[in-house]
């Protein structure tokens, strides 16, 4: 019998290999991000002043949507081919294996999204303080999105109503993250300190790291029964 850490790395590396076999899964969220960002100027009539004011929000919302779309598939293939059952029966805590899957997903989607988001912010001439705040909030916020989103994905995996139901469940849970991140960026742009908002986001991160995988594992077990 191996240690828990071994089980974590087995699932983590397996998920990385699976995505590397299907590169589209890696690239699609990033392409989606860029395409949606490009939509905004069309909607707002390329008024430079207006766009400057909404850039940070645009970037955060689009990153959120891209993350949600890619998160949807995190448990689907395992559920459909029976791998979830085998994970539950492996004798290792399901919480641990779920944590491995979510970590792999964040490393493959969240991190690249942060990089692209920062590049976009830079290209769209976001002021430096706003860029810094954007980076910190994305860094703290995207893992929370993955961890909390995984709960909703686990609850709805394999259902007919799929994506729409998932969005209805996930987006209300995401709102506090978005609110605090945008507050931080706003305050940073105005030159005010953003410690409070960052502490809140960090608190949410710690809460979701500790409780998220537990709730996700419970959801998967419920779906399998």
């Amino acid at each position: 019998m191996h240690t828990h850490w071994h089980a974590f790395t087995v699932i983590f590396s397996r998920d990385i290999i699976l995505v590397s076999r299907c590169r589209a899964e890696l690239v699609n969220p990033l392409v989606f991000f860029v395409v949606v960002i490009a939509l905004f100027p069309f909607a707002f009539g390329s008024d430079a002043e207006l766009l400057k004011r909404i850039t940070a929000g645009m970037i955060w919302i689009t990153a959120l949507l891209a993350s949600t779309l890619s998160l949807e598939g995190i448990f689907r293939s395992d559920y459909e081919d029976g791998s979830t059952e085998q994970m539950v029966l492996s004798g290792y805590p399901l919480t641990l294996l779920v944590a491995a899957k979510v970590s792999a997903h964040w490393c493959l989607t969240g991190l690249p999204l942060i990089i692209i988001a920062m590049l976009t912010g830079f290209i769209l001439s976001l002021p430096t303080q706003a860029l810094q705040a954007l980076f910190l909030t994305l860094l703290l916020g995207t893992p929370v999105l993955s961890l909390i989103g995984a709960i909703a994905v686990a609850l709805t995996v394999g259902l007919r109503s799929g994506g729409m139901l998932l969005s209805l469940l996930i987006l209300p849970l995401y709102m506090p993250i978005l609110i605090f991140s945008m507050l931080a960026v706003e305050n940073a742009s105005a030159g005010l300190p953003i410690d409070a908002e960052l502490y809140f986001l960090a608190g949410m991160l710690v809460l979701s790291i500790t409780l998220g995988p537990i709730a996700t594992a419970a959801s998967l077990r419920i779906r399998l029964s």
């Binding site: 909390i148 709960i151 469940l169 209300p172 506090p176 809460l207 709730a215 959801s219």
Partner: protein, 247 residues
């Protein structure tokens, strides 16, 4: 010692009969309290020196908001009990709470909007309390959508319980939002520890209305749960006998 009578009431059959017994009492209490509360709020309470008579919508708005939070917590607690101890009644009660919670949340938002138009000049403003109450609305909707997406009743109940428990994080945010952020919405009127900032003649009808809403909630909950239990237990003997009797 306390648990023994609880076990007895947790049996679906006993709950059904208890519900039949209690619902009329709660219903009459609701009518009585509503009449007293509305009279108190619309006639007895003095007009506010700033807002005149339009403040009176507070007697619907505030109790609705309180109920929306209270019902969500109750829904999550029932769901948790059903999840951990596999008590069928808890699942049934949780599911029956949801439409009521949704209605009260909607009522709170609607009356708040109606109140806000003459007061703030706008139907809606994106401040902390309104936004988090809106999130609560979506949480209720999501809960109901999730439950209806499953074919198996028991799986639906347990999935809903997890969702409700996860959404509990939103409740402290709504409750404390007016304290954490100075916003357009006014501060908390009634607090557990301080003297209320509202005149006593205005306060009493408010509390009576809150109680009336609670008894209303209790009576409708018992009614809904009763029906739900019949569907849950449709295979069992006592339900068959009950339906035969009524034929």
């Amino acid at each position: 010692m306390i648990l023994k009578p609880l076990y007895r009431f947790a049996s679906p059959q006993n709950f059904y009969h208890l519900s039949v017994l209690l619902t009329p009492w709660f219903a009459w209490a609701t009518v009585l309290l509503m009449l007293i509360g509305l009279y108190g709020g619309l006639v007895f309470a003095p007009a506010d020196y700033q807002q005149g008579d339009s403040f009176r919508i507070i007697y619907i708005h505030v109790p609705s908001a309180w109920m929306s939070l209270f019902i969500y917590v109750l829904m999550a607690v029932f769901g948790g009990i059903g999840l951990i101890w596999h008590v069928k009644i808890a699942d049934v009660l949780a599911k029956s709470c949801a439409p009521l919670g949704l209605s009260f949340t909607f009522l709170a938002l609607a009356t708040g909007s109606i109140w806000g138009k003459p007061m703030w000049g706008t139907w809606w403003v994106w401040d902390a309390r309104l936004t988090s109450e809106l999130i609560l609305l979506f949480l209720y909707l999501g809960y109901m959508a999730l439950q209806s997406a499953f074919d198996d009743r028991r799986v639906a109940a347990r999935a809903g319980a997890i969702l409700a428990l996860v959404g509990m994080v939103n409740i402290p945010i709504i409750h404390y939002s007016v304290e954490w952020w100075s916003t357009l919405h006014q501060g908390p009127t009634v607090s557990k520890f301080d003297a209320p900032s509202i005149h006593i003649n205005m306060l009493i009808p408010l509390l009576i209305m809150a109680l009336a809403f609670k008894t209303y909630f209790a009576s409708v909950l018992l009614l809904r749960a009763r029906t739900e239990i019949l569907e849950y237990e449709c295979n069992s003997n006592w339900v068959r006998e009950l339906l035969n009797e009524s034929d």
